[in-house]
Symmetry: C2
Subunit: 419 residues, 2 copies
Amino acid sequence: MQLHDMNIDAFQARLASGEAKPLDWWQACRERIEARESEVQAWEFLSPEVGHAPAEGALRGVPVGVKDIIDTCDMPTAWGTGGYMTSDGSLVDAAVVTLLQQQGALVLGKTVSTEFAYFTPGKTRNPHDTSRTPGGSSSGSAAAVADGMVPLALGTQTAGSIIRPASYCGIYGYKPTFDTVSTAGIKPFAPSLDTLGWFARHIEDICTTFSTLTRAPAIEALPDLTGIRVGVCSLPGNEALNADVTQALRQAQERFEKVGASVVVLPFDARFDDLVEHQKVVMAYEASQSLASEYQHHAQQMGPKLVELIQQGLALSYARYREAQRATTELRQLLSRRFDVDVDVILAASAQGVAPIGLGATGDPLFCRAWTLLGVPCLNLPISQGEQGLPVGVQLIGDRYDDDRLLSIARTLMRAQTG
Amino acid sequence: MQLHDMNIDAFQARLASGEAKPLDWWQACRERIEARESEVQAWEFLSPEVGHAPAEGALRGVPVGVKDIIDTCDMPTAWGTGGYMTSDGSLVDAAVVTLLQQQGALVLGKTVSTEFAYFTPGKTRNPHDTSRTPGGSSSGSAAAVADGMVPLALGTQTAGSIIRPASYCGIYGYKPTFDTVSTAGIKPFAPSLDTLGWFARHIEDICTTFSTLTRAPAIEALPDLTGIRVGVCSLPGNEALNADVTQALRQAQERFEKVGASVVVLPFDARFDDLVEHQKVVMAYEASQSLASEYQHHAQQMGPKLVELIQQGLALSYARYREAQRATTELRQLLSRRFDVDVDVILAASAQGVAPIGLGATGDPLFCRAWTLLGVPCLNLPISQGEQGLPVGVQLIGDRYDDDRLLSIARTLMRAQTG
């Protein structure tokens, strides 16, 4: 039985027809991990046993990887600290872990995170080229999904920690509208920004997971995208786009136009240029509060980049923080009006190029900062290849709470081409 | 040394002059608790020892009570469950606990919370009349401060869990702008709503705590309130206001007018009437996610009201949740425009009347739901007395991120009268 290319709905159909058993996918994933983990190093901890076979649920028998900043009661959590802070197991699982398990999902283990989901990398390598970073902070989740070790894995994004690794690893990565799925049991970094999301190799699985976690109706593909307006815009950092990303954006535009959508240039208010700086302010100020206890007790063991961020945060005034929050509120309204009037989705770069060489850094979240601050849903589409055949993604962005429309458009786009 | 009426700044002055020693206030609080705890029952756990005397900080030597849904590493946390879920101590303190301790505050113990900060009451009684509820969910914090057991205590508000008990107990209770102080290490209930705040007997201490936690400049009183416009409005439930609350609102208006402010009637958009229902939807939907693990493992031990809320949440559609969130976004903008154009602060009821008789319920958060959903800062002013001389408060509401202005106006108002 070939499970590598299976999607969740197809597996459910096989279970229903008796062609597959509930633990088949779990077993196939364990075998893949056995064969590949020494190369990829995506896992912080592997669950020693599967427990009993799930009897029902929309995710029955679906193996899932859980980022190691997410609490689990029967597995340790180390928050990417490499061991200077470790819990043998929390009193209760994070809410999302229970929600997935209630639908029959099987937690395969904890995936490598950067230190407290900031910049200090873990051990994980990019499965497309093990000399390159998989991106961060959800490094292990992205690499494990990309390598076929697991069909679904949880990540979080505070700056660019889902979209960037998804782009570098050539898979789908989804950050829903802020606060769509509860972060209860997930280590806070910057509570105004921290968003739970997930990775998959199939757009259908991104959609199924969204519907399952939110109890929203299933996301259906549209007949075509006639009448859909795709906005492209010039945002800070775009001048740094390399040829690979420019090509990926052009390919995405062409693909949209082939299925009836129109591409419109969205002139952006000059104030949007400040969003990247505002995101940095909110992130540093809130992290310096949220990690106060960790910094108090473990500053000596922390990576220098995290220490630098916390110190930046401690040096920020409340007035500057407030200025950033107020500007964000205004720009959210402006953007929302754009979605009401001008466009259905926005197409933008996910990262500056293919995954950088080296494991000492995880790449730059520049292109994600503004969208995360705005709280809008973002989806990486693994749409192109750049230098040396390495993956390059683009992100599709929707209006807040318009996740179902964004996912429906993405599903139509990606299946129209390959179907 | 009479510490019962001391405020934080005055104690710091005494420390500086050598009139007081760093552990004096702690000792006085312990004595008060010794004398009164059997009556009031505000504490879930008392710290066995003070540790070393603090050497510095804006809160040097200030005893503080910590609501028992807030993590502490050297004291147990039971989240108001009465023991069916208990932690002997977390790996790290909640962020706010460390932030207070870094400023020299002394954590006296954990104060009684309702079950997971929802409606099932703990053992605490109202110190003004022990046959009455202190309100909830921050029951122990409000009662302990009101009874002089501690000058400062932490609470949280998801519906009305700071403002209502502050009103019932006759003290100041402050809920700052949403997300102003990190909730890292605090049990999530409804992450879009959960807000950390605090109680004190002196408006100065509310202000000092705000400045200390946010690193904002000190809140100064104004010479008078000339030119300040105080909005009064008709909101859902106002028809249920009893005579005590009507009188408290009138007294507050008169007090404002005496110091130069003008009171203006604020006609509210009809859509504001829906905010109470929207708050209930957001709270139930998010709680049914956030407490998924607790519900999975402890449903049999949970109070019936909490089970009912979670089941309501599980029955809600994503579409209804999204409708509530979208409407809230719009109404936040409308309210913000009101603050820009029409008023400086809004004056409104804190609760339906004095603390109800009985310990089986904690009163109704009706008048707080809309403001919590809007994310605006709210301050209970202990301004009046109702039947049998029991306290009745009113709340003063400011624009989002305009906390310093709200507190400055409140400080001027309350001191102009008594000074």
